[in-house]
Amino acid sequence: MQKLGDFKLPQFFNYPPYFTLQPVRDTREKQIQLWKDLILDYCKTHHIFVIGLEDQDFPLFSNPAIERSLTYEAREAFLSALVAQGRAEWLDKSRRKCLVLWHRIQDWANIVLDFVKDNGLEDSVMTVEEIRTGIESRGTELHGIDRTVLMRALKMLEQKGKLAIFKGTTADDEGVKFSI
């Protein structure tokens, strides 16, 4: 089985037509579906939050073994499909950077809640950075989370009244007061 880092590649990754955007509607829909799943799985495995379309190094978009890679048009097509599904967002108007939500924001919010509960942080205060990179987060999915994503999750929880976000003592960081 081929791998990209820790990620196991499916067999059809070696099927050349997989890398050509199919014109026939039914075939294309199937193709898009497969790519969407593959992208999400890959990003989840490698904790990738942002994909740059012009990034030549993103390994998922090419297969040297069969000498094929996706065209810009194809990449945009697949990512747009993810965005339409709500599993990704364009970070800029020119659609060059895409935020991949291999967990939905809702899911992240739940993960934060679990994190708080697991560590007994129900009434405490933490900075956002601490949530992201602190000792407690190590070994959890929160570790190294994209800041934008985390803020969105926190905001969602704030709206539910589970926490409050405030400006920290230092100019850089924000703090979170949990009140689960």
């Binding site: 196991k8 499916p10 067999q11 059809f12 070696n14 099927y15 050349p16 037509p17 890398f19 050509t20 199919q22 014109p23 026939v24 039914d26 075939t27 199937k30 193709q31 579906q33 497969l34 799943d37 593959l38 799985d41 000498e67 094929r68």
Partner: protein
């Protein structure tokens, strides 16, 4: 007195010849002898001035050197009496002699040039040009005047029939017998040119008038044709009578070059029907050889080449093919999504072609590297262009998938339906996906 042979020429006081009412001078030759061996009483006309006019040939004695004698005075030969002008003879002898010009004259039995009518006897007169003159130019003018037969026009006014612009209407009364001559030779020629220009101009204007008239008529014609076409289109209930006249109208319009728009509803003009049948017959053999399907353009070329003459236009071909729907012929016209039009046997089945393509594309090599249009062409025994159309159609049916790369444009068997979307890693032990995997893994 000019002997008994030739006519006398009246001279003015200054020695210019008096010309007839419509006579115009055409050319002059100096130092000319007139001889006639056949007539013993032909006057002795030596070294005089030969004047060619539209009516006569005048010989005037050179007043500076010759004293007019009884035997050599101004004489005239009416062009009407000339029966033939000989071509200039060019020989070694003529190079050393003075240029000569000979013509045949019709005279009375006594040897007189008749005033009117023609004589019964024929003699040959020779014009010897002693001086330096261009005999050829004179000769051509001689021909012109003689052929022009200006003397036959007589006193008629305004006849433009004569050669060399004898605009006689304007020139009548130009010469008087009293001796007052308004025009001399050169200006006569100039005048002739002028008149020629004027008449050309006038006829050009007339022509343009005609052209304008033609154009307005043409516009009417086109409008009429359009109206008829509209009428045919809107066509009321066709009973037999009307159908007949409709047919006629269509034929007529077709001959004028307007394609009838009714051809789809009606059976079409006879021409197209016949052509259609002929085409269906012709197409049978090439179609077989091409494997049952042929590009319309290829048919066009083959058909026209076979016809040799009376080639048909692309529109005619298309019409003829469209008519096949109405007849019971074993061929049909087919248009692909890509716009390519082909003729195929009705017995041709797409399914059969797809089955053959599928077999081809499931071969181990094809599974590994796919097939190109040329591969398919070789296997299916058809033209590469046709093969491509088949592959594209198979793709649209979901049988094949395309692969575009720097290596080219190739097709593979469509695996996508075989992949379980819920388990991306699952490959069953049977089926196309399994076969493909085996073939793909077998390569190095």
């Amino acid at each position: 007195m000019a002997g008994n042979c030739l006519q006398a020429v009246e001279l003015t006081t200054s020695g210019r010849p008096v010309l007839l009412p419509t006579e115009i001078e055409c050319s002059l030759l100096s130092a000319v002898d007139l001889e006639c061996e056949d007539l013993p009483n032909f006057p002795h006309l030596k070294s005089g001035l030969l004047i060619l006019t539209t009516h006569r040939l005048l010989w005037l004695p050179d007043s500076t050197t010759t004293i007019p004698t009884a035997s050599s005075s101004a004489s005239a030969i009416p062009l009407a009496a000339i029966t033939h002008i000989f071509a200039a003879k060019k020989s070694i002898k003529s190079m050393f002699h003075s240029p000569r010009l000979r013509f045949q004259l019709s005279v009375s039995p006594e040897g007189r040039v008749p005033d009117s009518g023609s004589g019964s006897r024929s003699v040959v007169v020779t014009v010897v040009v002693r001086g330096k003159s261009d005999l050829d130019a004179f000769l051509s003018k001689f021909w012109e005047s003689w052929r022009g037969r200006a003397w036959e026009i007589g006193d008629e006014q305004g006849s433009s029939n004569a050669v060399s612009g004898s605009g006689s209407a304007s020139s009548s009364g130009l010469y008087t017998r009293e001796g007052t001559v308004r025009m001399v030779g050169v200006s006569g020629i100039l005048r002739k040119e002028q008149e020629m220009w004027e008449s050309t101009d006038k006829s050009l204007q007339d022509a343009f008038q005609d052209l304008n008239a033609l154009m307005s008529k043409a516009k009417e014609m086109v409008m009429l044709a359009e109206k008829m076409r509209q009428k045919l289109l809107s066509g009321s209930q066709p009973n037999d009578e009307e159908l007949g006249s409709k047919q006629e109208m269509q034929d007529w319009m077709l001959s004028v070059g307007i394609i009838s728009p009714v051809t789809k509803e009606s059976a079409g003009a006879q021409y197209h029907q016949q052509l259609s049948r002929q085409l269906a017959d012709f197409v049978r053999l090439p179609l077989e050889r091409a494997g049952g399907m042929m590009n319309l353009i290829d048919i066009y070329c083959l058909f026209n080449r076979a016809r040799g003459t009376e080639l048909i236009s692309p529109e005619d071909l298309l019409q003829a093919c469209s008519l096949w729907e109405k007849f019971d012929v074993p061929v049909m016209l087919r248009k692909f999504d890509s716009g390519v039009m082909v003729i195929q046997n009705k017995s041709h089945s797409d399914e059969e072609v797809f089955a053959r393509i599928k077999t081809l594309v499931m071969k181990p090599d094809a599974l590994r590297t796919g097939i190109s249009a040329s591969d398919a062409a070789i296997t299916l025994g058809i033209a590469p262009g046709m093969a491509k159309e088949h592959l594209l159609t198979a793709e649209s049916k979901g049988l094949l998938c395309r692969d575009t790369s720097p290596d080219g444009f190739r097709f593979y068997i469509n695996l996508f339906p075989e992949i379980d979307p819920n388990d991306l890693y699952l490959v069953k032990d049977y089926g196309i996906y399994h076969t493909w995997l085996r073939a793909a893994s077998a390569s190095g």
